[in-house]
């Protein structure tokens, strides 16, 4: 197999961007993706089988059979779980990764989100830390992501957004009914509501048409290709250079190292299960927080007996995602107009500044309301089954609004990804073993957020409300998974340096949510994209300086 300059493992949000940046700069790139390349034609809009509602399975990989994980309860009981189980913490395994089927909220983190330790101090027992880079280091690259991938929205309703040099490239979609109900209520409460930023075309952009406003958005591929992910932006651009080869259904086995301890390529199983070796000058790991950590841990050799980049037992630690809480409000009039993408209005008044609490999060109205979702979202006191439940479904499906948001999790070193000693996947490799939880402080913030959501709904006229809170006994990483290969200046407490390069191995980079030190009170994808552009920029500068060529 022909040697390439760079092999990128994972064709998701970050991997697609790195492949495009490197290929555009003239480097030869092999982009490995374990999943398939789906199109809108593969998206059957199945309410019970999609990437978000997995009652009968997930839609965009990995397949149920042959890809187990193990999660460990607080009592130490290990359970083998399937990709459609919540505790599997699945994102997606396909070209585009999570960006094919995501809801596509496009947030910049706030400046304080990069300085959580300095802003709040460290809650005892947590591993809260500052990023080694600042918001200012990423601003240019947030802008690049917004314009290259394509974001619509309008921040003009709030003065609280991150500093920015120009508006978003596309206007917001017109308000849906929930927006018109919630906006005046938020203003009466002294909040600053605004149109959510979305990686979605509101007008023709990048050669594709606008959103047709169906509400089957989060969890599904867009059938009119108006949702912007790596699969319909940077990856086609990378392939068009002629310098990038995308290989689907290829599962990375390990990063190979030479006798001097530098990476020499990647071993992987191809679509027919044959073991292949791709030699490369550079290896970029962009497999998402759980699988990126797993690949590093699997890459054991004489020089790296605990796995690559794991000299100080840091790989896989600080696993985090978001703690979602909120409330549902029930109304005596119709609130539902079935106009997508559903989520339309948000506030960031509660991301920071709550006395005694570290951080907070965005609050916004909910994306999708499938009938099956409503079954367990009835007014307090409603029977769970029988005639009264059926009548409540009828009464409230079109007369309710959900407000919720991603509370920033306070990480711990004990929430982590390990290799399971017993369970193997279809290729015979040890699977990810997920254990531990975020710091309980997280739940205190989440509970406050739920009360705030409830107050907003009441102000909007809800006749009854119910808080949606839970204190799960496993870290909620899921589609927002992050943190497992922390970025930092000290090799003893982080995995990669401020340029996303392993402290230990100068030609291996981790570029995805894994490097997030903290994960903000926002959906993380635009930050993953910005970090990918930022890391690619640093990588290319190092490449031009010839420091990376072997």
């Amino acid at each position: 197999m022909k040697r390439v300059n760079a092999v990128v493992v994972g064709a998701g949000a970050a991997g697609g961007i790195v492949a495009k940046e490197l290929a555009t700069a003239g480097l030869s790139v092999a982009l490995l993706e374990r999943g398939r390349w789906y199109t809108a034609n593969d998206c059957r809009k199945d309410d019970l089988r999609n990437q978000r509602t997995t009652v009968l399975g997930n839609a965009f990989g990995p397949e149920e059979e042959g890809n187990p994980r193990v999660w460990v309860s607080p009592r130490g009981e290990a359970t083998t779980v399937l990709p459609s189980d919540g505790s599997y913490q699945n994102n997606a395994a396909c070209v585009g990764g999570g960006t094919l089927s995501y809801g596509a909220m496009a947030w910049r983190f706030l400046p304080q989100d990069f300085r959580m330790r300095s802003t709040y101090g460290v809650p005892a027992g947590s591993s809260l830390e500052d990023w080694p880079i600042s918001y200012d280091d990423l601003e240019l690259f947030y802008d690049k992501a917004e314009y290259e991938i394509g974001v619509s929205g309008d921040y003009s309703g709030t003065p609280l957004h991150s500093p920015r040099k120009r508006p978003l490239p596309m206007p917001p979609l017109p308000p849906n009914r929930e927006f018109t109900i919630l906006e005046p209520a938020a203003k009466r409460l002294g909040l600053h509501p605004f149109h959510l930023p979305m990686l979605r075309n509101s007008v023709p952009y990048n050669g594709r048409g606008p959103c047709m406003r169906c509400r089957w958005c989060v969890g599904f591929a867009c059938e009119v290709d108006a949702k912007n992910g790596s699969q319909n932006t940077v990856i086609p651009t990378a392939l068009a250079t002629g310098n990038c080869e995308l290989r689907t259904r290829c599962m990375a086995k390990e990063i190979l190292v030479d006798e001097r301890g530098r990476a020499r390529g990647v071993a992987y199983f191809d679509e027919r299960g044959r073991l292949q070796e791709q030699a490369a000058d550079i290896v970029v790991v962009s497999a998402c927080a759980i699988e990126s950590a797993r690949l590093l841990l699997q890459s054991k050799s004489r020089l790296y007996s605990q796995g690559l980049g794991n000299r100080y037992d840091q790989v896989g630690r600080n696993l985090q995602g978001h703690h979602y809480t909120g409330a549902i409000g029930f109304f005596d009039h119709e609130t539902y107009d079935d106009v997508g993408p559903g989520a339309s209005i948000g506030v960031m008044d509660y991301n920071h500044g709550t006395a005694g609490l570290c951080g907070g999060g965005l609050l916004a109205n909910e994306f999708i309301r499938l009938p099956i979702h409503m079954v367990d979202r009835m007014p307090p006191g409603t029977p769970r089954w029988g005639k009264a439940h059926k009548q409540a479904m009828r009464q409230y499906h079109r007369r309710s609004i959900v407000i919720m948001g991603p509370t920033q999790q306070i990480p711990t070193a004990e929430a982590r990804v390990l290799l399971d000693p017993a369970v193997k996947d279809q290729w015979g490799m040890p699977v990810a073993r997920i254990q531990g939880n975020v710091h309980p402080h997280t739940f205190a913030i989440g509970d406050v957020q739920a009360r705030r959501a409830e107050a907003w709904l009441r102000e909007a006229g809800a006749i009854q409300t119910a808080r949606m809170t839970g204190h799960p006994d496993l870290v909620e990483a899921g589609q927002h998974q992050a943190g497992t290969c922390r970025m930092g200046d000290d090799p003893r407490s982080s995995v990669v340096n401020r340029e996303c390069r392993l402290h230990d191995v100068d030609n291996v980079f981790v570029v995805d949510g894994s490097v997030h030190v903290t994960n903000g009170g926002f959906n993380p994808v635009l930050t993953i994209m910005a970090v990918a552009y930022y890391a690619s920029d640093a990588l290319l500068r190092a490449w031009k300086g010839a420091g990376l060529r072997s």
């Binding site: 398939r36 199109t39 809108a40 034609n41 593969d42 059957r44 809009k45 199945d46 309410d47 019970l48 009652v55 009968l56 399975g57 397949e63 047709m212 406003r213 169906c214 509400r215 089957w216 059938e223 009119v224 079935d338 009938p371 099956i372 409503m374 079954v375 769970r384 089954w385 029988g386 005639k387 439940h389 059926k390 009548q391 479904m393 009828r394 499906h397 079109r398």
Partner: protein, 180 residues
């Protein structure tokens, strides 16, 4: 896998193949009545017992009950597919409901009155929580889920909720060439 289509070989994924079979099975289910005993996993007696229990979870009012909307068909189909792992739980749970009904009311579930059937479901809720939750969950899925899975006949629950069917606007307006 590869199949012949209009003289040329096209690749289809296993999921597409299985999905196609499910649609075919769903179409077959819609075309036959639920009384002919044509089930994949359930015995005819289990099916009528299950129908009586489901109809307490979602009874008939102005709109059909669970079994009238095809929920038994949904559960039966899924028990041979995604819910294969729940086969034993259903078999044992239905047997427990039956023996409890015989003990308390001297008759099989299906021949007891609706009030007695409600009692039987309440007993399950108390004494076999795992099966009850499974019964409730799958009944709700079959009733409120898409008709493509074998339940929600004629999208009756979606019409009850005031939703259009099919709920995906645009799907009919956009067609895609067959993927090669």
């Amino acid at each position: 896998m590869q199949v012949k289509s209009e003289g040329r070989v096209v690749s289809i994924t296993r999921r597409q193949f299985v999905g196609g079979c499910a649609l075919a099975a769903g179409a077959a289910a819609a075309g036959c009545t639920s009384h002919n005993g044509n089930f994949s996993f359930l015995t005819p007696h289990e099916a009528v017992t299950l129908a009586a229990l489901c109809d307490q979870i979602i009874p008939a009012d102005d709109y059909p009950s669970a079994s009238q909307a095809g929920v038994v068909r949904y559960i039966d189909l899924q028990l041979t597919r995604t819910y294969r792992r729940h086969q034993d739980a259903f078999r044992a749970g239905l047997a427990q409901a039956e023996s409890c009904s015989v003990r308390r009311f001297g008759a099989a579930v299906v021949t007891t009155s609706p009030e007695q059937q409600l009692d039987t479901v309440r007993m399950l809720e108390q004494q076999n929580r795992r099966f009850f939750e499974l019964l409730r969950k799958t009944t709700m899925e079959g009733y409120y889920g898409s008709p493509r899975h074998g339940g929600n006949r004629d999208a009756v629950s979606w019409r009850m909720l005031g939703l259009t069917e099919p709920p995906v606007r645009g799907r009919a307006r956009y067609s895609f060439p067959e993927k090669r």
